[in-house]
Point group: C2
Chain length 312, copies 2
């Protein structure tokens, strides 16, 4: 276990320092990251990857903390990737702070990483899925992908999860909130958090009505609605039970393979788009020459694009 030992192997043995280092490389898209990820990708696929999303203020971070504590008591190790595209200014440290102050502080069975980039959201989503690969390959039993659910980018992020929890809170017209954000179709479990608040029953019945109207066909997973009060841990054991149940259901219905294929397709597409963006930028000689030809009307953009891609 020396520093000279390949980084990937140290991650595969679950060494925390190596995990942290690779995650930093992933976030910065450092040169050489692809080679390490290639090795880790081959070893990943064992963890249960749970996506937790929902509007700001729905208490996702508190819920993730409570879930993590529950998993730890059951002896399962947890990795958490918190993605907050809006946290460019805050640094997205809120979840980390919450956990550091809790009973989980210092527990080597919990690994937390917040991701926030100033770049394109596509890059952030890709980094999030790569980070999941790292924690999965490092042997975490459960990897939680927490993201603020406000749009397509967040849907992309949780598409890398196997079980997706969409969190609502009473008093926001929430059922409708989930539909608006395009989150309804991706929910495997609905969570009504802060269920001690007034209006919780109405939120539950609204969600139930929406699920009824979305009419899943027979043989599909029956999306449950779980009520929690995360800051008191209430409803959390039942919620975790639902995740376990969903995992078993997926394994019996070929859904785990289907989701793995879907995540693979997304990752390949993102990697390809990034490859194209990297090469087709000012300063790249082939690109600059093509721009000259097109600007001078000796070539057209589509033909130049085809030629450049052929040269990649």
């Amino acid at each position: 276990m020396t520093a000279a030992e390949p980084l990937a192997e140290r991650v595969l043995r679950g060494e925390q320092g190596a995990v942290a280092r690779v995650l930093s490389q992933v976030e910065r898209r450092a040169p050489g990251t692809d080679a390490v990820l290639a090795e880790l990708h081959r070893a990943a696929g064992r963890a249960h990857v749970i996506g937790v999303t929902g509007p700001p203020g729905s208490g996702k971070s508190t819920l993730v903390s409570a879930m993590t504590a529950h998993y730890r008591r059951a002896g399962r190790t947890v990795g958490i990737i918190a993605v907050d595209p809006s946290s460019v200014f805050t640094g997205g440290a809120i979840l980390g702070d919450r956990i550091r102050m809790s009973e989980l502080a210092g527990d080597p069975g919990v690994f937390i990483r917040s991701l926030a980039t100033r770049g394109a959201l596509g890059g952030l989503a890709r980094a999030a899925l790569d980070a999941v690969t790292v924690l999965d390959a490092a042997g975490r039993d459960v990897v939680v992908l927490e993201t603020v659910g406000v749009g397509q980018a967040e849907v992309d992020v949780v598409s890398g999860a196997q079980s997706v929890a969409v969190v609502s809170v009473p008093g926001l017209g929430d059922g409708i909130q989930a539909i608006k954000a395009g989150l309804l179709e991706i929910a495997d479990v609905h969570v009504v958090n802060k269920s001690d608040r007034e209006g919780a029953h109405r939120t539950v019945s609204e969600l139930r009505e929406v699920l009824r109207l979305s009419r899943r066909s027979a043989g599909q997973w029956n999306v449950p609605i779980e009520q929690t009060v995360a800051d008191r841990g209430e409803g959390v054991p039942a919620l975790v039970g639902r995740f376990d149940e969903h995992l078993r259901w997926m394994e019996h219905h070929g859904e785990r393979e289907r989701r793995a294929r879907q995540a693979a397709a997304t990752r390949i597409r993102w990697a390809a788009e990034e490859l194209v963006r990297e090469r087709l930028r000012p300063g790249s000689p082939l690109f600059d020459a093509a721009v000259d030809e097109v600007a001078a009307k000796r070539d057209d953009p589509a033909a130049a694009a085809r030629r450049l891609i052929g040269q990649l």
Copy 2:
């Protein structure tokens, strides 16, 4: 001039029916569009392409109508592309309606097309620049690209224009509005429309202060602030005079070539990204095979992406 004659040649002669047909092909990304566009691209580059952007409610459509009327009185032909990403539900017909009701109705010297797609905004921006190519190649003296300025996608769209007017209105904290939307750096001319409203002078002085703080270096174009009351045509001749002045300035300072190169770079990049998206989709045999390999952990996403791009 028969129907059998190649479509591109009929567009080059300015035949309205052919122009409308190619624009529909561009909007739908119909097969064969690239071949027609390639021919038109080589003939384009003569029109003065003017971008008009600004927040909703700033009166852009009325301003574009007034500018068009002015150009027509001077004997210049006009093509208008109105892009409204938010008009998915309205169909974006507002500008068309405005013009159809005005003195310009039925004038063959005015060609209007509204673009709105349900797809990605990137596709819409690309369609808008392609539509400019069509109207330019069809011999329009002036092509106006009108877009709702609310974000990066709109900045992308007007990046295809040679002279960009950013429209503000009094009473919205507008100077700051333009900064927020990232529109300040792309303005060649600032327009304070509805200048008969209270607060117009403050808006003008705020914009002046912002321009002063942005400190353009010597030798750069001096961005003017024009005041208009578009629905009465006030200030419009002076505004059009500024566009002409800007065109002459660009020609004397190599800026027209610089912008042509910039637009060429953007178009090549979009075409390449689209090419990748088209090929890397479920149903494409090579892509599906790669997804299987990655999902089964026999290959990793980045390596698969490199291989697939090599096969394009």
